[in-house]
């Protein structure tokens, strides 16, 4: 395939049609101009290329075409490069104009190489265009099969649960030793008759090792003392909050 056909949309008898829409930026335009020199990119004349570019932009301006800014930036840079290349060498200048020109040339070579590679890629025997896979393959299927998992423990635990569910359930509230208020009233009344002196309320509690029962007895005895005090049959005395509570018959 002739490369000219592929990549010179604008070259015609060495002249370029002024269609800026067709270019993909200044480097693209430069590459096409360089190719019109019809020599290896490694041997193109950068000065001639600069001239071609500047002429192209000048013509476009003459035709009052709108020119994107990046083309003008490139034009300005190339005009600078041109003057540097033409002026007597200044050894102090870094980078030298030759180095700038070399860089431009390297960039053009690289873009050109990729452009050609792309064309060769596209020209290959492509699947679905030049070569064909089966249009209606039977297809391969994956049949999913469950491998069921269960352990012996799961099994017997489940049976245990089933049997436990089936057993009749008894709901029993366990008995807790308590002293009822009536019982406490009775006790305090009786014990009070025997003592007219101030007596700590603890003295009215039954002797027991059971902490729970003692608590219950204390609470009930306290309530009984309040009730008896309300009836005017008993007096209460406490020196400070949480200090021992004393009672005596009224």
């Amino acid at each position: 395939m002739d490369e000219g056909d592929l990549f010179s949309p604008a070259s015609n008898e060495g002249r370029l049609t002024l269609d800026l829409d067709g270019w993909e930026g200044p480097l693209d335009l430069l590459l096409n101009l360089a190719r019109s020199q019809k020599v290896d990119l490694a041997r193109i004349s950068i000065l001639a290329l600069v001239e071609q570019y500047l002429t192209f932009i000048a013509e476009a301006k003459e035709l009052k075409l709108e020119i994107a800014a990046d083309y003008l930036v490139m034009a300005a840079w190339l005009a600078y490069l041109k003057s540097c290349l033409l002026l007597p060498k200044d050894p102090q200048q870094d980078p030298s104009p030759e180095e700038l020109a070399l860089r431009l040339q390297l960039r053009l070579q690289r873009l050109d190489a990729m452009r050609e590679a792309g064309a060769r890629l596209m020209a290959r025997d492509r699947l679905g265009r030049d070569v064909f896979a089966r249009a209606a393959p039977e297809g391969l299927r994956v049949v999913r099969k469950a491998a069921w998992q269960a352990e012996l423990y799961d099994l017997i635990a489940a049976y245990g649960a089933v049997r436990a569910r089936a057993e009749p359930a008894f709901h029993v509230v366990s008995r807790r030793p308590v002293m009822t208020l009536d019982e406490a009233l009775h006790r305090v009344e009786q014990l009070l008759g025997a003592s007219i002196e101030w007596t700590a309320i603890e003295a009215f509690l039954p002797a027991t090792q059971d902490g729970e029962y003692r608590k219950s007895a204390l609470a009930s005895s306290f309530l009984a003392a309040l009730e008896l005090a309300k009836q005017g049959r008993l007096e209460l005395d406490q020196k400070a909050p949480f200090a021992p509570l004393f009672v005596r018959a009224a």
């Binding site: 039977e138 391969l140 491998a147 489940a158 245990g160 089933v162 049997r163 359930a169």
Partner: protein, 191 residues
């Protein structure tokens, strides 16, 4: 073997790339008038005989297909580990402890109905099988466990399943509540 001729290659490629079986006329429309399509089809059919692919004619239309005896290769079975549902484990346990049992009996013991899928899963797993019918009105199907069941659970026989007393000792007879358990203890102490 002589190299395949143009007609044969053209017909082979055309049928391979076809989206549907093709008649001779349709093939000719692709490969061109100049080629002997019928002869090519006959030669191809002969060439592919006994291979993994064959050329077949159905209702005057031709197409390639994979050899029928290889159909089993074209489906791959993939095992996926899946845990049995709680309902399935309970059902399996009841069948194992009480076999043979009917579905109604399983439900009576579980206290909950079982769905059709539950027994299917157990049979698919290969652990439960139908074991005849109970000779009572309605003749319900009864189920039992299989040898594969014993193997999977590492049991020599069903007698190796722990009994009720063993379950109780292991605390597997799930207590219904605290008071119930206490009651059992108290009862035991009273005796």
């Amino acid at each position: 073997m002589t190299p395949p001729d143009d007609a044969l290659r053209a017909v082979e490629a055309t049928l391979f790339a076809a989206e549907a079986p093709m008649s001779v006329d349709e093939i000719v429309a692709y490969v061109g008038e100049g080629l002997d399509v019928k002869a090519a089809l006959a030669a191809l059919q002969n060439h592919y005989a006994g291979r993994g692919i064959e050329l077949v004619e159905r209702g005057k239309r031709w197409h390639f297909q994979t050899a029928p005896d290889l159909a089993h290769l074209l489906r791959k079975e993939r095992e996926e580990a899946r845990k049995l549902s709680r309902a399935a484990v309970e059902t399996l346990a009841i069948i194992a402890y009480h076999e043979p049992v009917s579905r109604a009996e399983v439900e009576a013991i579980r206290g909950v109905q079982i769905s059709k899928g539950t027994l299917d899963v157990l049979m698919e797993a290969g652990w439960v099988r139908p074991a005849g019918r109970r000779e009572v009105p309605g003749r319900p199907l009864i189920y039992a466990t299989t040898a594969a069941f014993l193997t999977h659970f590492g049991l020599g026989s069903r007698r190796d399943l722990p009994g009720i007393e063993d379950l109780k000792a292991a605390g597997l007879l799930d207590p219904v509540d605290f008071a119930f358990e206490q009651q059992l203890e108290l009862g035991a102490a009273d005796e």
